[in-house]
Symmetry: none
Subunit: 248 residues, 2 copies
DNA sequence: AAATTAAATGCTTTTTATTGCATGAAATGA
DNA sequence: TCATTTCATGCAATAAAAAGCATTTAATTT
């Protein structure tokens, strides 16, 4: 087995199980533990997993518990600044949840008069801090992981709305597979929000671009504007420009 | 189990329950208490939790007690303890918002399996920390002052529910004028909740008893149980006993 | 194709990390 | 106050990582 092939296998395994052990991998791939350790070290250096004594953990698993501070906060602040310029007085704004959306809430200009509609509890609380914006909460069962409301009630309420703009916190974006996520219920809500909005904006930090998750939210063409912390003429963004997305 | 994995598990647990104990973790993860202690020490050094004698506390929990001080907190904790005993497995529980309700959320027994329905954002977030209870959020416009959803949508949703018990955070209570409040929209929501519940419980700190506000929520007879920090045979409570309320 | 170079891998040894246990000190609660 | 629990520390056993070296494999040049 080639080195790259082996590392891809390890990465796949760690992302699937959230955890791998040197010994197991050594037996499975039939190379020495030294080699496995070297692979883990390299993957760790590339920031693709979290190395631990005796094995490794997936980034998502590790970050979901260990990041007391928001991951990649500076980039998210930058994205929030850019995204905030898209919102005009009087707009009806649909938003999902997620840390980037929270930053958006904090980046809103002080005198903005708009109506924000969301199913995210943390986002709603953040919007409430703003003096002039109205907050509409989508009701339904609250998902413990994502702290947003999910379910049929929520979706049917969203479908009754005709919003001007929708901000989607993005889990994974790929020119081929579009916007993807890994929680079925959250995906349903995002889908509904996208359908109910005149304009769809994806807030995506650079490292999530050209990545893919299990469940598709929408095709890449359903997105109108892509906001990242990168420069608009960045090479990595060219495929999206070609697909007709506006880059901010 | 890998060391980092174990520490992630501990963090997960402490964030979920707000509190962990060395002994429990030792049994659960099957390592010595020394190891747990060392983990807690490291996590504490990294600023990810607050170490305490015998275990650790989550940062958010710790901060919520040391920064923003809740008025008459001890009394509210006492009320919450008493009120929590009224909730049984399988119940549908309607709650309003308010600091006493937040304390109730924190006083819920760890293994309680119930469904909590509320329009209060802070209360919903607090319920989410609990491992086994389901949270249903009532959607509508969010009131900036009270951080609960108010309006026709919210009320009609509440009316569709038939709950076992309803906990009302109380602003003012008087044997003559009943339960009163000063926010028209909040009153409408409370009214709907009371109508939709088989049993109505008022959580009231002593100093709000025999006080009155502008708008009536319900007559005193609509309340089934009155929970206060006072002794049940306290003189001040006698008028309510006579009106047929159960005192806890 | 042969020779050379570079990279990858496995093995051994040394160094470091992790863990549990024992001890005495400190904190807690009756 | 005293009894109990919890903590901190040092120590030893074990496991894992790192470093160095030898061998093999792949790539490049001649």
């Amino acid at each position: 087995m080639l080195k790259k092939e082996r590392q891809a296998f390890i990465l796949h395994k760690v992302n699937l199980h959230n955890r791998v052990v040197c010994g197991d991998l050594s037996l499975e791939i039939n190379v020495s533990e030294d080699t496995i350790r070297r692979d883990l070290q390299e993957l760790s250096d590339e920031g693709k997993l979290i190395k631990a004594h005796g094995g490794a953990l997936s980034k998502s698993f590790y970050n979901s518990f260990n990041s007391s501070k928001v991951y990649s906060l500076e980039n998210k602040k930058c994205i929030a600044q850019k995204a905030a310029t898209l919102i005009k007085d009087g707009m009806f704004v649909l938003t999902t949840g997620g840390t980037t959306i929270i930053e958006l809430a904090r980046a809103l200009p002080e005198n903005l008069q708009a109506t924000f509609i969301t199913g995210s509890l943390p986002a709603a609380l953040e919007y409430l801090h703003h003096p002039t914006i109205e907050v509409i909460l989508i009701g339904d069962k609250v998902s413990k992981n994502s702290q947003i409301t999910v379910g049929g009630e929520a979706i049917s309420k969203i479908k009754q709305i005709k919003a001007d703009i929708c901000f989607v916190g993005t889990n994974a974006l790929d020119a081929e597979h579009g916007l993807t996520d890994n929680d079925w219920e959250v995906v349903q809500v995002k889908k509904a929000m996208i359908e109910s909005s005149a304009q769809v904006v994806s807030l995506t930090i650079g490292e999530k671009i050209n990545t893919c998750q299990r469940i598709q939210v929408c095709d890449i063409t359903a997105i109108d504007v892509l906001v990242t912390e990168l420069e608009a003429d960045s090479v990595i963004l060219q495929p999206y420009l070609k697909k007709g997305l506006k880059i901010l």
